[in-house]
């Protein structure tokens, strides 16, 4: 029915808002160094032990340079470990399917991808990675890259709340507390529920079954014998699936990602996985409000995200419920109670077009990039929407930590634009936004689009890169544009017809992901350092209020303006051209 998408959307957002508020307050406690109730008792001793072994004093405060160096050093270790782990996996235990070592170009791409929270995958999980690599490589980075995002967010919020100290907190402490008190407990709960619903969790790599039609059947009619056996890949999926969604990572255990029935078997798991993607990004808005002691500031950011999300999701599921005009008329494409209908190529029947479209908007608005349907087969305009959501810099809820960080940076652009119009020095939360802040904000906002467009341009004129394209016409260009957008913005979803496992895409893509992630982090931490040194001035009549619906509208306009101005020409060559061809047909 036409209202199915709306009902799912409304239910999801209602549960999200109910769950995000308490989680947000709880996260504020975690980052204000209070002892979290219950979990503090369970993990308190472990936390102190970790600091003792690491030789840390947890109340040591870092300035922005120390914080940034710690962050980069930690991620370098993570990158090196994952890179080597993949290449030597054939010599290590827990490799029941005897996967070979991964080649250096692919290992580079994958290490860059998982360390940067992108989870772009140029490999097919079930035929490439050993169970040990999946656990000790992928699952670990799912936690650590998410925690890195949360730590940087905590630093920026502290900077906005700071009274001229210039200190941002302690990176090591933020990492440890993010994992122990936020990510791990929720992941444990979620993975157990997922396992109860049919998400596999075993140390077997596969089973081989004798299929039902492999022997004679009752009824007399001759049954043509089909493949007598079927080998079914398995593994410790539930534990990875939980953190994959919760940490907005998105890298699938299987090639088909969350479209695979062992990753996402039914409506309940689908709902929980969607909720998990949105949970921490939405809660972060409440965390922000609590930590700066002005909840309204967080509410307006969350309201803006939610409003843009609803518009995108509704447009996307409307497009995906359209019939394909090129199919013969004997194909029934109408949606009824007994038939999903709509654009079903690349979609799972249990989800259908409406649910799949909502999932896609969540996975691209957040930086997850997980898919429960294949985006390459979306209608032209249906596929335009996830592409645009990534191009906003992933601030429509956004990645864990990075979403709110991006939104705060966009808010500074918005007050700067307003300040220019009325001729006043821009301020955000009482802190002056000066030349240095605007430089860092501009870097953080412009680096991913620059990488996207340069990457697309280079790929479009490189014959070996064009040869990777899987579809003819403007859709082929969309595949390249989508890939570059996804990697530069650390999303990880794909128009997967593009063959990315070539030296060109492995190396260029790895560099884009690393640059997109860490240049933005350095700019953000530098921004935080400068903001933390400024004293807040009390509001006066001339202060532009940033907690009002009016500001929400300006913020939404800023997002649309930036992404629209930068990307309209590129989009016109890909999805828009294809969409117009579809209309004319």
């Amino acid at each position: 029915m036409w209202y199915d998408g709306w009902a799912q959307l409304a239910f999801l957002l209602a549960v999200l808002l109910l769950a995000a508020k308490p989680l947000g307050s709880y996260m504020a406690k975690v980052f204000q160094m209070q002892r979290p109730p219950l979990l503090g008792r369970i993990f308190g001793k472990a936390e102190s032990a970790i600091y003792a072994m690491a030789g840390l004093r947890p109340d040591d405060q870092q300035d922005w340079r120390q914080y940034a160096v710690a962050c980069l050093a930690f991620n370098t270790i993570g990158f090196a470990f994952l890179f080597i782990l993949q290449m030597v996996q054939q010599h290590l235990p827990l490799n029941p399917a005897h996967q070979a070592g991964v080649g250096p170009a692919l290992a580079f791409n994958t290490a860059a991808s998982f360390v940067t929270n992108t989870n772009w995958q140029n490999y097919s999980g079930e035929t490439t990675m050993s169970l040990l690599t999946q656990m000790l490589g992928m699952t670990v980075q799912n936690f650590l890259s998410a925690a890195t995002g949360i730590a940087v967010m905590a630093a920026l919020i502290r900077a906005l709340a700071a009274k001229g100290t210039g200190k941002l907190g302690n990176f090591w402490v933020d990492m440890v507390r993010s994992v122990l008190y936020i990510l791990l407990p929720i992941a444990v709960l979620l993975s157990v529920v997922l396992a109860s619903q049919g998400v596999v969790q075993t140390l077997r790599a596969d089973v081989t079954v004798h299929t039902l039609s492999s022997s004679a059947v009752a009824g007399g009619a001759a049954e043509t014998k089909t493949a007598a056996t079927q080998t079914i890949a398995m593994g410790p999926v539930a534990s990875q699936e939980a953190i994959k969604e919760l940490g907005t990572n998105g890298g699938g255990f299987f090639n088909a990602n969350s479209a695979h029935p062992y990753e996402n078997p039914n409506g309940l798991t689908d709902f929980l996985e969607m909720l998990a993607m949105l949970l921490i990004p939405a809660a972060s808005c409440f965390t922000f409000g609590e930590m700066i002691s002005d909840r309204r500031q967080g509410h307006v950011l969350l309201a803006t995200m939610t409003a843009i999300f609803i518009v995108c999701a509704a447009l996307c599921f409307t497009f995906e419920q359209q019939r394909n005009p090129l199919f013969p008329s004997i194909v029934g494409q109408h949606h009824t109670a007994l038939a999903a209908g709509g654009n079903m190529e690349g979609k799972e029947l249990r989800f259908g077009p409406a649910n799949s479209a909502i999932w896609t908007c969540i996975a691209t608005g957040t930086s997850t990039g997980a898919v429960n349907s294949m985006l390459d087969s979306y209608t032209p305009f249906g596929g335009l929407i996830p592409m645009w959501l990534m191009k906003t810099g992933e601030v429509i809820f956004g990645g864990v930590g990075t979403g709110l960080t991006g939104m705060l940076i966009t808010a500074m652009v918005a007050v700067f634009l307003c300040g220019l119009m009325v001729g006043r020095t821009p301020e955000y939360l009482g802190k002056k936004i000066g030349a240095f802040e605007i430089k860092m904000v501009s870097l953080a906002i412009l680096i991913p689009p620059a990488l996207t467009l340069i990457g697309t341009a280079v790929a479009s004129v490189t014959p070996s890169a064009v040869a990777s394209v899987g579809n003819p016409g403007p859709h082929g260009f969309s595949e390249i544009l989508y890939a570059m957008t996804s990697m530069s913005n650390n999303n990880g979803s794909a128009f997967a017809g593009l063959n990315g496992n070539t030296d060109f895409y492995n190396i260029l893509g790895g560099l884009l992901m690393l640059a997109g992630r860490f240049w933005s982090i350095i700019a953000t931490v530098a921004l935080a350092g400068s903001v933390a040194k400024r004293k807040a001035s009390p509001p006066n009549v001339g202060t532009f209020p940033t907690h009002t619906p009016m500001f929400g509208v300006i913020l939404a306009g800023t997002i649309a303006l930036i992404s629209g101005l930068i990307f309209l020409p590129a989009l016109a060559l890909g999805p828009i051209a294809e969409g117009l061809m579809q209309v004319v047909h």
Partner: protein, 209 residues
């Protein structure tokens, strides 16, 4: 610089151990103890009862397998190569205007019509398009009803009894609206075998000959 190296390595090692070994192993242990059927892939035997042994398993409730004879309900087309390869999942990734997609749909239509030449009914779109995973275990109720004339003729059973079987096999989405109504093809075919066995005299049973 030394002040960085020690926390860097220690914290990476400890958090890595916690999230990469202890966490997945603990969840595996929990899953194997509390939900052994689900954690091991929802495998069922030829009679439809849960099993965990490779020897007795006829397939997984959650994974499509190939049915191509006229006497079984068919799943959705699979874009993996070979089709229904549960060791290498994936979709076709064909764009909506790609001529290869139109051709693929046309050949799926031709295959259905060849197996049941008289049938000029509308074909539900899910039965001619391939799923995202290539392993979609379900078809829409409409797609099951569409296949009734063919299966009834091949199995010498009445269409009405098959329609009853389908009606009883329809699964509602979670909460009634989160997703679409669906029918699990493997379970439907196991029920179909059971129905046909019941209708037959024991001496005709092919498995006992």
């Amino acid at each position: 610089m030394r002040s960085i190296i020690r926390p860097c390595l220690t914290i990476f090692l400890l958090l890595g151990l916690l999230t990469g070994i202890i966490y997945p192993m603990a969840i595996t242990a929990l899953g194997q103890v509390i939900f052994p059927f689900q954690a091991n892939g929802s495998l069922i035997s030829r009679s439809g009862s849960p099993t965990q042994s490779q020897k007795t398993a006829a397939g997984s409730v959650l994974i499509a397998q190939n049915f191509s004879g006229p006497g079984y309900f068919w799943p959705r087309p699979s874009a993996t190569s070979p089709p229904y390869d549960a060791d290498n999942s994936g979709g076709s990734n064909l764009g909506p205007r790609n001529p290869a997609l139109v051709k693929k749909v046309a050949s799926a239509i031709a295959r259905l019509q060849k197996a049941d030449p008289g049938d000029k009914a509308r074909i539900p779109v899910d039965l001619v398009t391939s799923s995202g995973s290539g392993l979609d275990p379900d078809i829409s109720p409409a797609a099951a009803y569409y296949q009734v004339p063919r299966v009834a003729r091949a199995r010498h059973v009445s269409p009405a009894s098959l329609r009853r079987l389908i009606r009883q096999s329809i699964e509602m989405p979670w909460l009634g609206f989160f997703g679409e109504r669906y029918i699990d093809v493997l379970e439907l075919n196991i029920r179909l075998n059971r129905l046909c066995r019941k209708l037959q005299k024991p001496s005709d049973h092919p498995l006992r000959k």
